[in-house]
Subunit: 226 residues, 2 copies
């Protein structure tokens, strides 16, 4: 839980907003969105419920902002990694592996993102909620579009077998995202091990056999990317 | 939407219960659980809200029953299909393909099942809600266990490559279930086409190349199973 921050620091309104987002991500990720109390988030960052409403209209508004921000981060990561690689399969592997190079807080954010997808489908009458919801939905589509474009390019180059790029995108993202439905930090499965397994399986979904078919040691190479 | 059923038919309490479940599945699947009104479900089956509470304590109770029943159906299908096959890969293909041989109502039920997973994690104080929630959670574990056992057997037999059976189970179920997050009946992608694509990809996740690697016509064989 983030440390308490003294109230009334108008100069750091941005950092207070970030502190609220961080605390809410922790609560939503650990307890589940439904079970999290908005008042507990206020308490964690040391502001009253009324002050909280200056930043976020509601718990739901905050959730949508967390989801939209997470997706924007994913798009930026995707563009950064796919923009620099030379070899297609190496780039593909790096972008898949990047999805597992996460801090514990980022894992919680992933859990929130996949667990609360259903709430993104529902129109809101509140303007701020609806704006954040729309942004999250648009970023979801942007990320899918970026993936579909990238996979199409790999098919055109002959780097991966031809397939319906839209279905291939959904399959890879579906498999990749499914991890956050069950993965919990601190268990006997490390995120590294899970990442090794899932990256190889995502490549298999795309018809790519791993460069080196031997077990763990060879796979581990992917992790040392930049 | 199911046809209206005349009220007060004490002899057919079971069928009224089924009618409520069917109507709720349709609403939850089409509008989303959150956006569905419990009173609309009552109206669809032609009973008052008070009578509705005789069958289900709440909208949530009904949701949990839908999820638990769906999972029980999946376990029964899984056991039926895996109990009869001779060839391991054929059986594996048949059980994966069975997940796409669905009526439109069953597709809606799958959507409800995957969309509302997060609600399964939350303890309830109401006894009937909690019982139905526990049953859904237990059936989820039972289905995962049945899959893990089946995959382990395939690995022991050398029919599929060795791997962590628990991770392999989660990957296959994660990929298989991800379809219901986006698939909508009536679009340009038929469920048959989606099924062909996903069955092949689930096999790839398990390290099984398709029997015939040519495109569509060969794959279509899988559909004529049993």
């Amino acid at each position: 839980m983030p440390a308490k921050i003294a109230e009334d620091r108008p100069a750091s309104s941005r950092s207070k907003r970030d502190a609220i987002l961080a605390a809410a991500t922790t609560y939503f990720g650990r307890e589940g969105y439904e079970d999290s109390k908005w008042a507990d988030v206020a308490k964690a960052v040391g502001i009253g419920s009324t002050a909280l409403y200056h930043y976020f209209e509601s718990k739901l508004h905050c959730l949508y902002v967390i989801m939209a921000d997470a997706l924007e981060g994913h798009i930026a990561d995707f563009e950064r990694i796919t923009g620099q690689g030379e070899d297609y399969i190496e780039t593909l592997t790096a972008v898949l592996r990047g999805g597992f190079d996460l801090t514990e807080q980022e894992v919680l954010r992933q859990r929130v993102l996949v667990a609360e997808q259903a709430l993104l489908a529902i129109h809101r009458t509140s303007q701020r909620e609806e704006e954040a919801r729309q942004r999250a939905r648009e970023r979801t589509r942007d990320l899918e579009f970026a993936w579909a474009t990238f996979l199409s390019r790999g098919m055109e180059q002959g780097a991966i077998p031809n397939a319906d790029a839209r279905l291939a995108t959904r399959a890879v993202l579906g498999l990749h995202n499914s991890v956050w439905h069950w993965y919990r930090p601190g268990g006997d499965l490390t995120l590294d091990k899970v990442g090794d397994f899932y990256v190889a399986r995502c490549l298999a979904v795309l018809g790519v056999s791993e460069p080196a078919p031997e077990p763990a040691p060879a796979r581990r190479r992917a992790k040392t990317k930049k």
